[in-house]
Symmetry: C2
Subunit: 198 residues, 2 copies
Amino acid sequence: MTPHPAPRPEPPAQERGRRRRASLLKAAVALLAEGGFAAVTHRAVAHRARLPLAATTYYFASRDQLLAEAFAELVEAELDTTRDWITRHGLPALADHVAAADRARQLGLWELYVHAGRDPVLQQIARRWTDGCVRIVADVLDVPASDPRARLLYTAVSALWLEHLVEQRPLSQARALLTLALDLTLDHAGPTTAEETS
Amino acid sequence: MTPHPAPRPEPPAQERGRRRRASLLKAAVALLAEGGFAAVTHRAVAHRARLPLAATTYYFASRDQLLAEAFAELVEAELDTTRDWITRHGLPALADHVAAADRARQLGLWELYVHAGRDPVLQQIARRWTDGCVRIVADVLDVPASDPRARLLYTAVSALWLEHLVEQRPLSQARALLTLALDLTLDHAGPTTAEETS
DNA sequence: GGCGAAGTGGTACGGGTGTACCGATTTTAC
DNA sequence: GTAAAATCGGTACACCCGTACCACTTCGCC
C-alpha cells in the first residue's frame, strides 16, 4: 500500500516537484553560505524557499542528506568559478579573487570541509573539491595533474586562502606569500622526484 | 547587595571555586576534542566535571565565553606539544607526528579555527595559534620569525595536515609532499642541508 | 471518468538547548 | 558571634530542533 510513508524514493518525477526540490537545495546552499552549518535547519530552509516545513522531509530523507547535497552543489559551483577566474586572470592574481570573494560563503564551505572529516559521505565530496582544485592548478601550470608540484602549490594556496579568510590579516601579506610560493614552485623546474605516475 | 544576580565578576576568589572552574574548563576542552564544537553544551560539561548544571553558568558568563577559554587552552596545549615534538625529532619527521596525533582532537581544533572566522574573540586566539606555529618553524629553521619562508612553510604544512586529517589519504602522499615542501623552501637560500632519512 | 499514486501542508511529539531563578549553604569580614 | 557576601544546586522556562503523522489535493494514466 504505502499510503504515504514515502520517505523519499527517487527524483521527484513530477515537474513541479523537481522545481521545489531544487528550490529547497538552493535555499540550503544560501543558508550554508550565510550562517554556516548550524543555520541549515529544516525550518530555515523551508521558510527561505517559501515552502511548508514538511517539504524538506518529503524531498530529503534527512538533514544530513540535505546538507550533503548542498555541500556538493556548493563545491561544484566553487570549482567552476575558480577555474573560470584562474584561466582568465592567471595564478599570480589569485589574491584578488580571494579578496573579492564572498567571505561568509567561503567560511561556510570550509566549515563543511572540516566537518567532512567526521562524515564519510561529506569526505568524498571534500576529496572531489581538492582534486578539482589540484586539476585546475595543474592545467594552468601545464603539468600533469599527478605532478607533486601542482599538488603542493594548491595546498599552499588553499591554506593561504583559509588563513586569510579566518584571521583577516592584511591582504598584502597573503599576496606576498602567494608570490613567494609561485617563485619557489616554478624555480624548481627540475625533475622533481615524481615517484608514481598513474 | 547583589544577592545572586552574579553573572560572573572576576576570578572565583575562593580556592574551591578556582578548582571547580578549572575542572569545568578541562571538561570543556576534552569534549571539544572529542566531539568538536557542538558537543560542548552546559549539560555535557557539567556532567563530565561531575558538577551540577548551574555551575557552568555560575563560572562562565555564557557558552561562548566557555568555548573561547577552552579554545585558548587547547591551542596553548597544542603549541607546547608541537614545539616539543619538532625540536626533538626535526621537521622532516613531522608526518609521523601527524599520523600519531589524536584525530578527533585535531578535527575539533580545526573546527574551532574555522569558526573563529565568524567570531572576533576566537579570531584572536586563532591568530595566536598561527603565530605560535610560525615561530616554531622559524626557530627550527634558524631564521627570524618574520622570514616569509618560515611563514610559507608553516602554511603549506598546516594545509597538508588539515588535508590529511579530513580526507584521510594515504600517509605516504603527505610525507612526499612534506619532503618536497622542505626541499623547495630550503633550496632557495637554505643555510642548512637537512640530513635526509627516508 | 475514475482511481491509485504522488505530492502537499498544517500540526504535534519528544527531546535537547541556554539560561534564569531562588532557597539553602558555606565562607569571609568585622 | 554575626551578618553580609559568595557560592551552590535543584528546578523551571522558553525556545528550537528533527521528524512523524495524516487528512487533503492534484496528477498520470488506463
